[in-house]
């Protein structure tokens, strides 16, 4: 065999033997997760700090951090928040000198084990001229026929409640529909009675949309599952909140860090302003 062939095989064996492997899973980073929501006209109480969890964890609840130092800054003034009793990981401001109003610029600082995570947001303006049409929705109770009738009923019914508002600057909005009854009556007892518990959860009491940047939203008949008084709330939301939705589908072939406005940490710090109208869902039977 020629020397060149032997040399070829020798080089090959040498380089093959020098290959190394590495670990498929990295240790988790020590990161705080901020979920800070400010609502215009309401006290500061929805600031939550948690930590990341190991990829190997089987918990579905985020580990709360209740011993961080949390500060809000508004127009150059710094306010220290306190941990909220009975709500692990939550922080609130107990004074009356801190208000949340449209146009206010807020900053947050979370100091935990010498590491400071920061973020900033501006309170959006209140949605303008929120109206719904119709204000009363007549729905026929479904009390027989099981799943089949339920499914066909949905397919046939094109009734919708249209929610309109003014949006001249391309802002993002978020619509929720909440049943205000203390003991709400389902439109189709058979259907909800037979579904698994975790599947019912999304239907019960509250429906939410994904953020939209238009000026209308249609609540279809399929979105309404209970009779009674409902509150339709239109939130004007900031881009950082929309980014939560943009980040929710992480693909294994294209892993990217979820979008966040928190520096040196994870999560979101944002503010909302809302306007609500009532919708009555009545039994047409």
């Amino acid at each position: 065999m020629p020397r060149s062939v032997i040399a070829f095989l020798a080089i090959l064996a040498l380089v093959t033997a020098s290959c190394t492997e590495n670990s498929p899973l990295l240790p988790e980073a020590d990161q705080v997760v901020i979920r800070g929501y400010l609502y215009a006209g309401q006290p500061v109480s929805e600031i939550r700090v948690t930590s990341v969890m190991s990829l190997g964890s089987e918990d579905s609840l985020a580990p709360p951090i209740s011993d961080a130092q949390v500060f809000l800054t508004k127009n150059g003034t710094r306010y220290q928040l306190e941990p909220t009793p009975d709500r692990p990981g939550y922080y609130h401001y107990s004074g009356i000198d801190l208000t949340v109003e449209a146009g206010d610029r807020f900053g947050i600082e979370v100091i935990y084990y010498g590491k400071t995570a920061t973020a900033g947001t501006t309170v959006p303006l209140q949605p303008e001229q929120v109206v719904i049409d119709p204000q009363e929705l007549v729905v026929t109770r479904v009390d027989s026929g099981g799943f089949g009738q339920f499914g066909r009923f949905f397919e046939d019914d094109t009734t919708a409640v249209r929610v309109d508002w003014i949006n001249t600057d391309g802002s993002n909005y978020y619509v929720t529909l909440e049943n205000l009854e203390t003991a709400p009556q389902p439109i189709n007892e058979n259907f909800f009675g037979n579904l698994p518990e975790e599947f019912q959860r999304g239907f019960r009491n509250r429906f939410t949309s994904v953020p939209v940047n238009g000026s209308e939203y249609r609540i279809t008949r399929q979105n309404v599952t209970y009779f009674g008084k409902h509150l339709v709330t239109v939130y004007r939301v900031n881009q950082e909140y929309v980014d939560l939705y943009r980040s929710r589908n992480q693909d294994t072939r294209d892993l990217n860090e979820p979008l966040t406005n928190v520096v040196n940490g994870l999560g979101v710090f944002t503010a909302f302003n809302s306007a609500g109208v009532y919708l009555e869902v009545v039994d047409g039977q």
């Binding site: 240790p27 992480q250 994870l266």
Partner: protein, 851 residues
């Protein structure tokens, strides 16, 4: 035929007084030089008289088939004068010295030929130089030397590959043009499943792939496993790895120029071949001295016979070859469910691909060549299924409940078609011995259609609730088309013996459309864009001294979607320090106005789409700097080139958005990010060109780094195709009638982003979303990639047929190279699996050719 033609006194001549003569002289003056004296005299000479000059002109042809050989080199031995043939095989050496001279012609894969010519004014007729292909037996004598597979010495960053020699390299069932190119330094393949070319830090969509002048958008078959070109239909493969001249434009990384065979002009020929995936045939028919016709076709029979190779390849591309590192213990609720992939389907879906090349070449007169080339390639994936009873069950999205029922059934029709159709017409006319024009009209269309309909039926009460969640009877369609119509005029003007000019202009209409509909009524996505590009270029190869060639050119483009002009100056030089040693360098600016957005889920077929640059998505830009040197003798070539590419306005697309969300149009657009970066590296090539053992060692040291303001916190990150080291060893050994070959590839592991931890965010409605916190983008590396392939083939010569039988082994030592690391985010704890690439894979093939 214009060979050996001597113009008679009464014959019509090309030379018309007036416009052309004036313009030709004007070009010479424009160059800052003096028009060649003899040429000027010719211009002033009355119509009908013979020109007074010592130009050597003619064509270089295959001695056996009479086919013109494109890009062959013709040199006057002992001088620095020489020329290359154009795509029609025509060459001219302007103002050669008088007296007896030796003319040497060479072309890759062919024996070098020297001929004696006596050069006197007005006496030299057009020559026809016939080269003989190096085959196993040449005139009854076994030739021990092998034909060269690779030629990398002629120009800056230019590599030429001999298609006929690719058969003897190890393969994966198909003789593959692009996979062979991946063995060259500076060109990567990234994975076993990709025939795409990553050239010096570029991505496959940044390569301009030209086949007989038409742009081919879809260049592979079988989900990227094989290139879409049948090697039997290709005469010349030429790759410009960077710094390419002004005659090419529209892409920022490289140019792959494929010239199709014209077919035998002397006698009818045919060839047939079969392997474990496909059968192919080529048919060549001369058209009574007026031209030739070539038809070449290839089709896989994988929809009829699912060979073990097909099954293995399909398992690979479906990601079914995986090793789970971390076993899940509990499913996680809240993420999307209900997905079904091939892993859960017992039978592999039907799949086939085919391609067809037809080329009609006509020579209506001695000065004219008309060629019509048609290409069509298509892949078809049929994933239709009928599932019922115990075989059928699913988990509705967002729940952990699994529904099934004895009487349930689901009929799904799911067909994906994708491919490329192209047609080009070229009319070449030798307006003068020194002026050659080609008018090319080409049409290219990439298409992809996806058609899915599903019906769930059954007798139980559960069926209606399932229908509600899954849509009952549903249908979705996606149509994606890219069309490119181009009209181009290319001119070659060999003005003096120190200036070869090329100038041309082109007009392209480009349209791209993408439609997605649900149940024929709901328009999920409707995207239709059009653009027009007008280009003009001028370039000059200036032989400054006997040892220094300098090529300068400029390309100007007007792009209507941005209403802007883009200027692209280019320059390159080759300085011969001695017969063996050359220094070389190139610089150029390049723009690209279209980007391919790849669908990473290969199992969905090709739903890639092309997106046009506009005022919001700025055109890609690159500036190339190349410096190198080469040393060459008859047996060896050593070539080294360093490069730096400044990259701007690159496009990254991330599918972090849900495609089915409301407002999908906005969401899709928001998936784009623009940024810049650089690619730098150095490529080494050591080639053994002669003897029983031939081959090469190619090594590339490279770095590709991107910076996108909106990704990775604005910090730089390695591109996912960044490879620090890449080593290719290619060896071919001739043992009598046997050809043995081996290739070994080593590459640094792929950069990837790894998950580090998970966290939850409560929304304002009280629901919760979970997220994965990831490492810095592409900060982790998969283990190094390497594999050894072996090939052995033998040629049998019968009286009228030549047979080549071959056997190849891909990945001889069964290296478990990792394709990607898969994280199942739907489980707690998260499941991590290594999806591996192809293991030990033997294949066989048989080719026969008429003699």
């Amino acid at each position: 035929m214009f060979e050996n033609h001597v113009r008679g006194a009464g014959e019509r001549t090309w030379l018309r007084p007036g416009i052309l003569n004036s313009s030709v002289i004007a070009f010479c003056l424009l160059l800052g030089g003096r028009p060649d004296a003899s040429f000027a005299q010719a211009a002033e000479r009355p119509v009908g008289s013979a020109p007074a000059r010592r130009d050597i002109r003619g064509t270089v042809r295959d001695a056996e088939t009479g086919e013109a050989l494109p890009h062959a080199t013709v040199l006057l031995v002992g001088t620095k004068l020489g020329a290359s043939t154009n795509t029609d095989g025509y060459f001219i050496i302007v103002n050669a010295p008088g007296g007896k001279q030796t003319l040497q012609a060479r072309y890759i894969g062919y024996a070098v030929k020297n001929i004696e010519v006596g050069i006197e004014e007005n006496t030299l007729s057009p020559l026809t130089i016939e080269l003989k292909r190096v085959v196993y037996e040449l005139e009854g004598i076994t030739v021990e030397a092998q034909a060269q597979t690779l030629d990398a010495s002629a120009r800056v960053s230019q590599v030429v590959l001999a298609p006929a020699q690719l058969l003897s390299l190890p393969n994966l069932g198909e003789v593959d043009v692009f996979r062979s190119l991946q063995l060259l330094p500076g060109i990567s393949g990234v994975s076993d499943g990709s025939a795409g070319l990553y050239v010096r830090g570029g991505t496959p969509d940044q390569n301009l792939v030209l086949f007989d002048g038409m742009t081919i958008y879809h260049v592979d078959h079988f989900f990227g496993m094989f290139s879409a070109f049948n090697a039997d239909a290709i005469k010349d493969i030429r790759v410009y790895k960077g710094g390419y001249p002004a005659e090419f434009g529209g892409r920022i990384s490289s140019v792959v120029e494929l010239t199709g065979k014209t077919g035998d002009v002397n006698e009818m020929r045919y060839g047939l071949g079969v392997n474990l995936l496909s059968a192919n045939g080529v048919f060549e028919l001369p058209l009574s001295d007026k031209g030739s016709l070539l038809i070449s076709a290839r089709r896989s029979y994988t929809d009829f016979v699912k060979s073990s190779l097909y099954n293995k390849l399909f398992d690979f591309i479906s990601g079914d070859q995986q090793t789970t590192n971390f076993i899940s213990r509990a499913p996680s609720f809240g993420r999307s469910g209900g997905r079904q992939n091939f892993a859960s389907v017992a039978e592999r879906p039907d799949f086939y691909f085919y391609d067809l090349n037809t080329k009609l070449t006509l020579t209506p007169s001695e000065k004219d060549i008309v060629a019509i080339s048609v290409y069509r390639g298509k892949d078809n994936l049929d994933q239709s299924q009928s599932l019922s009873g115990a075989n059928f069950g699913f988990r509705p999205g967002g729940t952990g409940s699994f529904f099934s029922g004895e009487s349930l059934s689901r009929q799904t029709r799911e067909i994906t078609d994708w491919g490329n159709t192209g047609i080009s017409g070229k009319w070449s006319r030798r307006l003068h011995d020194r002026f050659y024009s080609s008018l090319i009209a080409s049409y290219s269309k990439y298409f992809s259609t996806y058609d899915r309909s599903q019906e769930i039926s059954g007798g139980s009460a559960l069926e209606d609730s399932l229908s509600f969640f899954r849509g009952g009877a549903s249908a979705s369609n996606e149509d994606n088309e890219v069309e490119d119509f181009t009209l181009r005029l290319d001119n070659e003007f060999h003005a003096t013996n120190s200036h070869d000019l090329k100038l041309g202009l082109s007009l392209s209409n480009f349209s791209s459309q993408y439609f997605a509909t649900l149940n024929d009524t709901t328009n999920l996505l409707s995207r239709q864009t059009k653009s027009r590009q007008s280009s003009v270029y001028l370039q000059d190869l200036w032989k400054v001294t006997r040892n220094l060639d300098f090529t300068a050119g400029v390309r100007g483009i007007y792009y209507d979607r941005t209403s802007s002009f883009y200027w692209e100056p280019r320059a390159s030089l080759i300085w011969a320090l001695s017969e063996a040693v050359r220094l070389k360098g190139a610089w150029g600016r390049y723009h690209q106005f279209v980007n391919q957005i790849a669908n990473e889920n290969v199992l969905e077929g090709s739903r890639d789409f092309w997106i046009l640059a506009d005022n919001e998505l700025a055109p890609n830009f690159a500036e190339h700097y190349i410096l190198g040197a080469s040393w060459e003798n008859d047996s060896y070539l050593f070539d080294v080139e360093g490069y730096y590419k400044n990259l701007e306005n690159l496009v990254e697309y991330t599918r972090r958005v849900t495609p089915r969300d409301a407002g999908i149009l906005q969401e899709v657009t928001r998936g784009f990010f623009q940024g810049g970066g650089f690619a730098k590296g150095i490529d080494f090539l050591l080639q053994k060109k002669a003897g029983r053992m031939t081959g090469w060692v190619g090594y590339s040291l490279g770095k590709v780094e991107y910076t996108f303001p909106e990704l990775n916190r604005g910090e730089s990150f390695p591109a996912s195709h960044d490879r620090t080291h890449e080593l290719n060893l290619v060896g071919k050994y001739r043992l009598g009638k046997w050809d043995l070959s081996a290739t070994w590839i080593y590459a640094t592991g792929k950069a990837y982003t790894a998950p580090e931890s998970q966290y939850f965010i409560d929304l304002i409605d009280g629901s919760q979303l979970s997220y994965i916190h990831v490492s810095d983008k592409n900060s982790q590396r998969l283990p190094a990639y390497h594999r050894l392939d072996l090939g052995i083939s033998r040629t049998f010569n019968a009286r009228s047929i030549r047979y080549v039988a071959g056997f190849s082994i891909f990945n001889l030592y069964n290296r478990k190279n990792i394709w990607y690391r898969s994280y199942d985010l739907n489980t707690q704890p998260i499941t991590v699996s290594d999806v591996t690439m192809l293991g030990f894979t033997p294949t066989i093939y048989l080719q026969l050719y008429s003699r």
